[in-house]
């Protein structure tokens, strides 16, 4: 098949399914042939998942994790978007705060765990705070660059029609920067989902991250560890796919390149 040829519909589905099936088979037979006592086979993981579902833990933990990510991500967006727009709008403010942001940005949220526990104690608030930290900086950076990349013709046209600075921000700058802001939101949602696992291992006793560490600590249940990993992967994929739909909205699509 040439790389230029448009893949047929069944091919689009068939090859990924085949690859996944091969992976499962490889995993299964490796577990069987090496006769490992520690690492679970796919069937053991499936049984583990069923057990979690039966106990009612699966849905409760998924719900807890999603709730924490939603809170942390929403707080990051609610603070990060206005801050990013402001910094993009006032270059002087950006010059003042940018060094500080650039120092804070590369610090992994995991390094914040001790500080977060002092500030918020052990519990939900700490987990949410860590997720917030992971999501906040990419959102700010995307907004700043989104605003500063707005072509000057758009600003000029807005000013020409007599918009006040606030109207200009709402009607020209924000929509013009929106495609880039949405890319930033998508990246930071992915990071929030990653940080959730670490945060829940440390700060709380529910959720998918907690399930990973708890299954290992109480009885070395590696079937449950891998089951939790799979659930984290599948939900992470679902979140990303859901987010990608936003960029197909016509008032956003113009500015988003269609890469995967």
């Amino acid at each position: 098949m040439s790389s230029l040829a448009q893949p047929k519909k069944w091919e689009k589905l068939f090859w990924p399914v085949l690859a996944s099936a091969l992976f499962l088979a490889l995993w299964h037979y490796t577990a069987v042939w090496t006769a490992t006592k520690v690492f679970p086979s796919p069937l053991a993981v499936e049984k583990g998942l069923a057990e979690l579902a039966r106990k009612g833990l699966l849905w409760a933990y998924i719900g807890d994790s999603l709730r924490r990510v939603a809170l942390g991500f929403a707080a990051a967006a609610a603070l990060g978007i206005p801050l990013g727009l402001t910094l993009g709008w006032y270059p002087a403010a950006n010059q003042t705060l940018n060094p500080l942001l650039q120092i804070l940005r590369p610090i992994s949220p995991i390094a914040w765990i001790p500080v977060a526990i002092i500030l918020f104690g052990v519990g939900d608030a700490t987990a949410v705070f860590l997720i917030f930290l992971g999501a906040f900086f990419p959102i700010v950076v995307a907004c700043v660059s989104g605003v500063s990349n707005v072509p000057s013709v758009f600003r000029r046209a807005g000013r020409n029609f007599g918009l006040t600075p606030l109207q200009l921000l709402a009607k020209v700058i924000f929509p013009a920067a929106l495609p880039q802001i949405i890319i930033g939101l998508r990246i930071s949602l992915g990071i929030a989902w990653l940080v959730m696992v670490a945060a829940e291992m440390i700060a709380v006793d529910s959720g998918l991250g907690y399930l990973v560490i708890d299954a290992r600590n109480s009885g070395k249940r590696y079937d449950l560890v891998v089951a939790a990993m799979l659930v984290i992967g599948v939900i992470g994929l679902a979140l990303d796919l859901g987010f990608r739909r936003i960029r197909d909205i016509p008032s956003v699509r113009w500015g988003v390149r269609h890469e995967s």
Partner: protein, 255 residues
Amino acid sequence: MERAAAGPKLSARHITTVFQSDGKSTPVLDDVNLEVGQGEFLCIVGPSGCGKSTLLSTIAGFLSPTSGEVRIDGEAVSGPDPRRIFVFQERGVFPWLTVEGNIEFGLFSLSRPERRQRVAHYIKMVGLEGFEKAYPAELSGGMKQRVEVARALAVNPDMLFLDEPFGALDSITRLIMRGELLRIWEAERNTIIFVTHDIDEAVQLGDRVAVMSDRPAKIQQIVDIDIPHPRDLSAPRYLELRNGIFKQLGLAHKV
């Protein structure tokens, strides 16, 4: 061409502009003087990079001259104004709004029914019926240019500034758009200042053509185009005026 007795619509006096960057100063406009009458269609031509666009941006209030002053209706220009709309090449159309949304953009102070009525009127005038809900990405260059002209006209400006508006269009679309612009101008009678590097375009459209020199630019000459519309592009008078401008710019019109 009739001019208001009260004086010119626009007068630019001793406009001098020097750009500063990295400690180097580049003189762009050198003592430009210009008067434009009410309802006049003035074209400005000149070699590329000569400062035509700088002059137009200054007249529109986006740039302040280093010295000199622009007055419109006797009032000094200190910034852009919704009574005078600048039309860019089709790049100025907002890609996140539909055709309707773009044309409606400047009408936010009007009531909803009034907005509707204006949008419908100008969509019809520029021939975009059926494309009201389309986004700019779905339109051709010529159609986007019409959207931008309609957006400008919808706010009922008394002046239009057009900066090489048809420069990015193919030659057939460009000819059609020139005809459309003249038709609209004859209906609305706004004062139009039209910057172009295309001498034919200037002579086809303008009541007068201002010829600019190389940088730092002065206005070398203003040519009256005393041919009524519609203009015959093979008439001796048309060719004579056109060749005069080519000569003025020091261009041999032979290939």
